[in-house]
């Protein structure tokens, strides 16, 4: 499969990611097998694959929450496993469940990063937080606690919290998981709009085929911890590879022995 360049002008701050021969073992289980791919500065790159295929583990290596068993991950020229990298490159991670700080209000969740890194006085921080909230249409939620928010709102607050960091690299872990189709479309639109506005590098991990194929500049398909294909969305739409085609358009075969067994169990 081939690759295509991003249509959006690349920001000077945007950074690329290089994953080289990444292998990860948890005890005797190998989760990632010799994974290699490259994310170019300023593009939206989607890692698509079924649940349990190792997508989130790749993201955790990029943000430095996991260290490789072998191979390496580089952000720009820097080693992702080195904690110093996070001080040199602004990267933001939107967790699947939001990972909002439950003891802080929505406003304080967003203000934590600029306050802790002393990025201006309280008035400046307020402007920054309110701007991020307004981009995601969350202007009136600042005083609310995370426990009072719906799943979709939590996702949007998590994205707003990432935006306050003014990241060079924005990582999304299953941004549309557990959301209804309308909210999924909204989140998809937000990811696209953010890239249009700030031209940052975005890496999206998802099992949502429509999200990956509608938004990405390039897509990687991962299955059982191995990269099966990398290419532009059109390559995937017109694929002749039966495994990829089956992932994109799964056919439910009721004559499958697994279904027969389920039927027997039910009886």
């Amino acid at each position: 499969m081939t690759s295509a360049s991003s249509a959006t002008p690349v920001s000077a701050r945007a950074v690329g990611i290089t994953v080289s021969h990444l292998t990860k073992k948890f005890g005797p289980v190998t989760v990632l097998h010799d994974v290699s791919f490259e994310v170019r500065p300023g593009e939206i790159f989607c890692i698509m694959g079924p649940s349990g295929s190792g997508k989130t583990v790749i993201l955790k290596h990029i943000v430095g929450l996991e260290t490789p068993t072998s191979g390496e991950v580089r952000i720009g020229q820097l080693d992702a496993a080195d904690p110093e990298t996070r001080t040199k490159i602004h990267l933001a991670f939107v967790f699947q469940a939001g990972a909002l700080f439950n003891s802080l209000s929505v406003y304080d969740n967003l203000a934590l990063y600029p306050r802790e890194h002393r990025l201006g006085n309280e008035a400046h921080i307020r402007d920054r937080v309110m701007h991020a909230l307004s981009i995601l249409s969350l202007d009136k939620t600042g005083d609310r606690m995370p426990s009072e928010l719906s799943g979709g709102m939590k996702k949007r607050v998590a994205i707003a919290r990432a935006l306050v960091m003014e990241p060079q690299l924005l990582l999304y872990d299953e941004p549309t998981a557990e959301l209804d189709p309308i909210l999924s479309a909204t989140i998809t639109e937000i990811i696209g709009t953010l890239r249009e506005q700030s031209a940052i590098t975005s890496l999206v991990v998802t099992h949502d085929r429509s999200l990956a194929l509608s938004i990405a500049d390039r897509v990687a398909l991962i299955m059982d911890g191995r990269i099966r294909a990398v290419g532009v969305p059109d390559d995937f739409k017109h694929t002749t590879d039966p495994t990829i085609a089956n992932f994109l358009n799964p056919i439910i075969d009721l004559k499958n022995p697994r279904f027969k067994q389920l039927e027997k169990d039910h009886e």
Partner: protein, 250 residues
């Protein structure tokens, strides 16, 4: 052998946690609100239970020693016995146990749930070290509050003993006589030793609870397991350290 190595590894990691937190000591002035919040949680909210418990420990100690010393004609020394027992042993140990049960458990539960629900991971990705904003303010607060709580515990124990001596017919030692003996046999070193023990216990309890909370893995069920582990480990360390600190201080 594996278990012993695990214990040694745990002790090493706990010491490293204190060292990593101490590296951010210069950020304490701008973390003043967090420090005050922790002083409130550790000190103010623990005070009532410390007061009640130590008052009755002092009372019970006076009752028992009154009953035992009567045979030897040594009732007049009850003040010294209660005073020294509370200051040198029961005050700091009881406060440490109460802090482990009330504050330590809350800390472990909070940090473990933050870990399980990825809030700690979020902090790390935001380049905000958890040691700086979660551990350091608690360590600073325990350093300030442990001596205060221990002195309150000692005073409550002494007054509890005095009341029992005054108003129990079988003992009937006046408060004046009780406190004059207590004063005669107590030295400044006893109070200083009491506070040193309290400080060591406080730091150990908070560090163990923070360490176990921050290293929780798995789901909500592991939060409960971490809580039990933190309390049991803290209690073991309080009592084992008590023996060794006594050995050094006496």
């Amino acid at each position: 052998m594996k278990q012993i190595l695990g214990i040694i590894e745990g002790i090493g990691e706990t010491v490293l946690l204190v060292a990593r937190s101490a590296r951010y000591a210069n950020t304490l002035p701008r973390q003043f609100p967090r420090f005050i919040e922790q002083c409130y949680q550790i000190g103010y909210k623990t005070m009532p239970i410390v007061t009640i418990l130590c008052f009755f420990i002092g009372s019970a100690l006076a009752q028992q020693s009154g009953y035992s010393l009567e045979d030897f004609g040594g009732k007049q020394f009850i003040g010294a016995l209660v005073g020294l027992s509370m200051a040198r042993e029961l005050g700091p140990v009881m406060v440490a146990i109460l802090v482990a049960g009330r504050v330590g458990s809350a800390i472990t539960a909070e940090l473990a749930s933050m870990k399980v629900y990825q809030e700690i991971d979020a902090l790390v990705t935001m380049d905000i070290p958890p040691e700086r904003i979660l551990v350091l303010p608690r360590l600073a607060a325990i350093l300030v509050m442990m001596p205060v709580l221990t002195m309150i515990a000692n005073l409550c124990g002494w007054f509890g003993g005095a009341l029992v001596c005054q108003y129990t017919a079988s003992i009937s030692v006046s408060s004046q006589s009780y406190f004059s003996v207590l004063e005669r046999f107590m030295h400044m070193k006893d109070i200083v030793d009491s506070l040193i023990k309290a400080e060591v216990f406080g730091i150990v309890v908070i560090t163990i609870c923070c360490h176990i909370g921050l290293n929780t893995r798995g789901g909500p069920r592991e939060i409960g397991a971490s809580l039990t582990k933190a309390i049991v480990t803290s209690l073991i360390f309080i009592l084992v350290l008590d023996f060794f600190i006594n050995d050094i201080l006496i």
